[in-house]
């Protein structure tokens, strides 16, 4: 393909090719502090292409492709290039990853121990992780936590943080000096803006951490918390994993170990300040 960028994000490396210059230029800029792939070998290939040759110029629309694809991918406007690339990268991992158990979760680390937060879209896991990263935590990722079945350790995947709607403003205020991607309006998920993780998150992305707490946050309710028993955690996490079945016995063992060894709590919170206080308190009580 004509325009190409290679990047290593945590344990996964990507080769991103595009029919257009703009998406690659934006991606290369936003990922400029990230290393090149180890050994020059890329785990995943991502293609951003025009489904029909003329769609390169006439009403240009990006179709997502790669090693692993879903049928019926809907093309996106060229202005959403960063979103297209991010979605395509996530998709490669979600469909193709077989070394790690993939959990749809955000993760932050402190003193070598990881806090995993998982929940439905809109539960606030991205925002919480990004905010914790401004308060002495290391951001490991806002989308996927990668659990190594052999060691039980969580590996970081600190790609761009995907901020939606209100959290765009919240983060602009919290980290005014951070680097942001273009503001994308009217996407299927509303307004969307990407945030470049801070330097520690990038520099230390190869350092795994031992999971110490799993939280199931829920935004928009009066503050509350309850212990999640291993049985419930197991069911919730199988649903939060994109490759649990594909890993077979290794996935089962990794998940059993996680829910057995790591305490888990469901927390409701009315606003982000309350949530951050809750998290710090629960963490201190471990």
């Amino acid at each position: 393909m004509k325009h190409v960028h290679h990047v290593q994000i945590g344990p996964a490396s990507f080769r991103i090719g595009s029919d257009w210059r703009a998406p690659i230029a934006q991606i290369a800029d936003l990922y400029r502090d990230y290393p090149a792939p180890i050994d020059g070998v890329c785990d995943y290939t991502v293609r951003l292409f025009a489904a029909r040759p003329w769609r390169r110029w006439v009403r240009p629309a990006i179709t997502l492709g790669g090693d692993f694809t879903l049928p019926d991918a809907v093309p996106m406007p060229l202005d959403w290039g960063v979103l297209a690339a991010e979605m395509a990268m996530n998709l490669q991992l979600a469909l193709g990853e077989r070394r790690y158990l993939l959990l749809h979760a955000s993760a932050v680390e402190r003193e070598g121990r990881a806090l995993l937060m998982t929940g439905l879209s809109g539960a606030g896991k991205s925002t919480l992780a990004a905010l914790l990263a401004t308060r002495g935590w290391r951001l490991m990722g806002d989308e996927f936590a990668l659990v190594d079945p052999a060691t039980g350790l969580a590996h970081a995947f600190p790609r761009l943080v995907s901020l939606k709607n209100e959290s765009v403003g919240v983060m602009a205020q919290a980290v005014p000096d951070a680097r942001f991607g273009p503001l994308l309006t009217g996407t299927p998920k509303g307004d969307l803006r990407h945030l470049v993780p801070d330097l520690p998150a990038i520099v230390r992305m190869a350092e795994p951490a031992r999971p110490a707490l799993v939280l199931y946050p829920r935004f928009g309710f009066a503050a509350a918390e309850r212990t999640v028993p291993p049985s419930e955690g197991f069911v919730r996490l199988t649903q939060a994993s994109t490759n649990y079945t594909a890993l077979g016995e290794r996935g089962f063992d990794a998940l059993i170990r996680l829910v057995r060894d790591v305490p888990a709590l469901a927390i409701d919170y009315p606003d982000t300040d309350a949530a951050l206080a809750q998290v710090e308190r629960l963490w201190a009580a471990l």
Binding site: R15, G40, V41, C42, T45, R47, G65, D67, R98, G248
Partner: protein, 355 residues
């Protein structure tokens, strides 16, 4: 890489891939994934010196194929249990058969649906038994359903909702409308039982069946993988009776083409430029030389061009060749008037051609 010849080289002569750099491995693995050959590649290049990360990737691809093997065998067992009361042998076809029989073709192979062959006059019982055991229809369209039932060599595909796995129940080898009519009854009566109550086709019939689907039916999508199967089967299970068997099934041309192309692309003993069955190494089970070909070199070159139409980004290339083979697959499957009627119905219902 502009076509898939590097992938073919790596499978044929794994040691040759030791010269690849990181970018070369990235391209090789991307094209192997697109051709569903990543697990096979991993198996072939094990032990070859390569960048460490390439090893991690290929290990994961092989582990994934292994998991697929376990899943495929489990699915076969589920079908066996569902059909056991009918007193029928469940004859496994394609990928599941290769892994169940422990054949080289099954090593690292990705396996999609479960394909089985049952006698045509028992097809209604089989259908009822599968529906009772939790399989459901995939195609709700009445035209598609009626089309399958009237003309195809298999039931409309069924899916098991709980396990999310498809089963294709074949009662003949090629569509009933195809010009060639292999003898499915003979295949069934010569099937070989396995220890666990399942069965597979005899070695020669496996080859005939695989070649039929590659050359007498399909548009050669996934052709490199299917040709790899054939390459392995020729070396492992073919007998001197192969050509006679192929002639009986009407598949002499397809099997001979498979023999020539598998030899040209995958046989490690000679360079691809010197393709020709004559130099193929003879082994104990060697079926001997294929019958004299009735075509010149030109058709094989076209097939080769189609088989290799994949670049280092995993993209399908050569759209004109692909389209020609797509049209050809329909041409082979139906008489002209019927094809016209079929295409008109599909067009009127708003189906789009793939591509």
């Amino acid at each position: 890489m502009r076509d898939a010849i590097s992938l073919v080289h790596a499978l044929r002569d794994p040691a040759s891939s030791a010269t690849l750099d990181g970018a070369g491995w990235t391209q090789l693995i991307a094209s192997a994934r697109a051709e569903q050959l990543a697990g096979t590649l991993a198996d072939r290049v094990r032990g070859v010196v390569k960048p460490r990360h390439a090893d991690h990737l290929l290990d994961a691809a092989y582990a994934s194929a292994e998991q697929g093997r376990v899943q495929a065998l489990w699915e076969a067992e589920m079908a066996r249990r569902a059909l056991a009361p009918l007193g029928l042998p469940v004859v496994l076809l394609k990928g599941t058969a290769y892994v169940a029989a422990g054949l080289a073709a099954g090593r690292g192979r990705s396996i999609g649906d479960l394909d089985i062959l049952v006698p045509r006059d028992r097809i209604d019982e089989v259908e009822r038994a599968l529906l009772a055991a939790g399989w459901e229809w995939v195609k709700p369209d009445p035209y598609d359903d009626a089309y399958y039932r009237q003309w195809m060599h298999e039931l409309p595909p069924l899916i098991h909702r709980e396990r999310d796995r498809m089963i294709d129940v074949h009662h003949t080898v090629l569509p009933l409308t195809a010009r060639i009519t292999p003898d499915a009854g003979a295949m069934l009566s010569d099937a070989v039982g396995l220890r666990d109550g399942l069965a597979v086709l005899s070695g020669d019939d496996m080859i005939c069946h695989s070649a039929a689907h590659l050359f007498a039916d399909g548009d050669l999508a996934g052709g490199l993988r299917n040709l790899w199967d054939l390459h392995c089967l020729f070396a492992e299970v073919a007998t001197p009776a192969l050509w006679e068997r192929a002639r009986m099934h009407g598949l002499e041309v397809a099997v001979a083409r498979a023999w020539r192309l598998a030899g040209a692309l995958y046989a490690p003993t000679r360079a691809p430029a010197q393709a020709g069955a004559q130099s193929r190494r003879r082994t104990a089970r060697n079926p001997g030389l294929p019958p004299a070909r009735e075509h010149g070199h030109m058709p094989d070159r076209l097939y080769r061009r189609r088989l290799l139409a994949r670049d280092g980004w995993g993209r399908a290339t050569r759209p004109v060749t692909r389209f020609a083979f797509f049209v050809r697959s329909h041409w082979l499957r139906m008489p002209p008037a019927m094809l016209a009627r079929h295409l008109f119905t599909k067009w009127r219902k708003g189906h789009r051609a793939s591509g």
